[in-house]
Symmetry: C2
């Protein structure tokens, strides 16, 4: 699934790839299942520049409110995150989130206001603080330079795979790293940061530019992912930059180094986005909608998101059916400006490509070939609007029996 | 499911309830299954005032383009509609729709420009005109005053039940009737007319006021229904008014008679809306979200639609799970203006009511009682925003294995 761009080598280590970062993940007892880790910690030996983007949902998890306050000065040194409980819509939520920061700070010998706090899980159930308090020292002691996988596991909810990605690249002659971990996989829909993602880098960069880069890249990656159209209350994406790589401090948005950093961030977030879409609740297929020939990027994004979000289209992909009328339908009800008589649609995968629609009308194609193409587990839907040069990509997944099972039938 | 309002008595007859209307429905051969009717006709002995609303999808079915043109003069005398093929995204679509009007006109001895034409079914497959041409005289001959159920059956696609409703009411001392038939059940989402609906009445009313009434009532009924978030390319809602009841001609929007007519229209469309939602593809439950205490109607509608559209919430209802966090989540990501700390949520059905959230936070409730309430097949979700006096209702259904089966797994 990983895509390498020239000059950006995928590397091991996730959130521990960059210099100065350690991580850990343990079972503390928020979840009943003892085999399921439920508490993650990331720690930087040096205070970091930090930036974040938050859900646009008007119902915001209590941890987000506390994190936003702690990041006002653009600095952070640790991330604490539990799974199994979202600590949202609870009257005591904010107080509990503050307590989580204090416990973390005390165990690490840092300031509580330098801690990023996050929670993910069920909404509206009181968060038990005891398991966290009782196990904080154990969690801090477990910190190590290859604790990235433990941490990535501890933030999972209905995810079926751990999601991490890291790249190595050069700024001038200095080797730098940027890595991250993320969790999906339901309540995912484009609208700012739509899941939890924690990123670390050893690049030396101003917190202002760090925030600018994060916002720009999230708009093109996480905000282009949809699993089910539901924008969660708790999701956010945080980046910590330790500056330990020794590169020349980045403070100019026009500099080559800044552009390189943005590209590195894009490679990491694009790969994590694809992992989240592919591991969408119940998904059997990763869907990638590439819109070309749009009059501007906004319209391209609108069309790509509309296709990837259509329940009918998602069901057709599950059924391996080249029912392209549903793609046209989703293009048509999007808010994009477009001339439907210019629309071309191509379905593509490892098994080949087939044009199914041209000039807004159906064309003859081999159903047999289409079935072969759609039997692969990564499907690309290419929509050419014949209306300009702008382009966008969105990622999603098919809608399956298991999505319904996971979200509706979990009582049985 | 029917709700009677004082002065509006539900009555038999569907599109044949009003004076002067006949209908028929036959199998002509567009569908392979000979047991499935696929061609419907409605005929008025007198030329009617007529009005329509159309899908907002930029991909519009060819029949809609022809119907819009034919209704420019506000007059119509017949409706021809096939199922099994949407006649959309085909290069010859418009020509075929014109031919359908000509064939109908010739069989009935009326003008082709007085025919409303509609098609529903798969998008992007060439419509075979021969079955329609060969059977038009048979269809016209079958017209009768109790052909309403045949017609209602012939426009069904994945619908599992015929949908018709009619009311009797008085304008002054004159008894009038208004009835209609509709088809659902996938590709349904609030955005103007979101499915096919044909209405007939014997009320004497100007075509201008007929259009005004239809637009207003559709906004509060069909546009508040969502099955899957997909707005179809072909859907529209047409009303024919023969004027044969003998009431005093309605031409003033401030008149009592106009208000009574709007109410009659509301009763019919609200009942058809509930039928469409309850028969949503794969649905096991009708969901009705009632939003009260909003600062204005627009915000109330936005919140009601957002709740009813959430895949996660729809799955929870299928699973009979009082997972109210998903309701809060859907309220929060709606575009409505609201103070989340004022939100109260009550779940209700024949089996009782339970408050699950107050002031934006969870409250303790009996899971056992909630399960009993959610085990009914009609669930009401009452959301009080504590922010004003405005109110809105939206209708939807749960998301089930069968939705996926119908739309994804139909090859097997």
């Amino acid at each position: 699934m990983s895509i390498n761009y020239k000059g950006f080598e995928a590397c091991e280590g996730g959130v521990c790839a960059a210099k100065g970062f350690k991580a850990s993940g343990i079972h503390c007892g928020i979840r009943k299942n003892k085999d399921k880790k439920d508490l993650a910690l990331i720690y930087s030996e040096k205070i970091c520049s930090a930036a974040a983007v938050y859900t646009q949902n008007k119902v915001k998890g209590a941890p987000l409110i506390v994190t936003k306050r702690n990041l006002e000065n653009g600095k952070a040194q640790a991330v604490i995150c539990n799974s199994g409980n979202a600590n949202t819509c609870n009257a005591d939520g904010e107080q509990k989130a503050i307590t989580m920061c204090k416990l973390t700070a005390s165990a690490l010998g840092i300031k509580a206001s330098d801690v990023v706090v996050a929670s993910t899980g069920v909404i509206g159930q009181i968060l038990p603080i005891e398991p966290i308090a009782d196990n904080m020292n154990k969690l801090a002691k477990a910190l190590c330079e290859n604790g990235n996988l433990d941490a990535a596991e501890a933030i999972m909810t209905t995810d079926t795979v751990k999601k991490e990605f890291a790249v190595e690249f050069k700024l001038g002659d200095t080797v730098c790293k940027l890595g991250g971990m993320a969790k999906g996989s339901g309540m995912i829909h484009p609208n700012m940061a739509t899941m939890l993602c924690f990123l670390t880098t050893d690049v030396d960069i101003s917190d202002k530019l760090l925030a600018k880069a994060l916002k720009a890249v999230v708009d093109d990656t996480f905000n282009m992912v949809s699993v089910d159209g539901d924008t969660s209350t708790n999701d956010n994406c945080v980046i910590l930059a330790s500056g330990l790589s020794g590169n020349k401090h980045i403070s100019e948005p026009d500099s080559e180094d800044y552009k390189t950093f943005v590209n590195a961030l894009y490679v990491v977030l694009m790969n994590l986005s694809r992992m989240i879409a592919a591991d969408g609740e119940g998904a059997t297929k990763l869907l990638e909608c590439v819109v070309t020939g749009a009059c501007d990027v906004k319209n391209a994004k609108t069309v790509a998101k509309s296709v990837i979000t259509s329940s009918l289209f998602k069901c057709a992909m599950f059924g391996k059916d080249a029912n392209w009328g549903r793609i046209l339908c989703a293009i048509g009800y999007s808010e994009a400006k477009l001339n439907i008589n210019g629309v071309e649609v191509i379905l593509s995968s490892k098994a080949g490509s087939v044009q199914v629609c041209k000039d807004g009308f159906g064309v003859e194609f081999s159903e047999e070939k289409a079935l072969k193409i759609l039997s692969e587990d990564e499907i690309k839907i290419i929509v050419n609007l014949s209306d300009g040069d702008a382009k966008a990509v969105a990622w999603g997944c098919d809608l399956t029996y298991d999505y319904v099972k996971i979200n509706g039938d979990y009582r049985t």
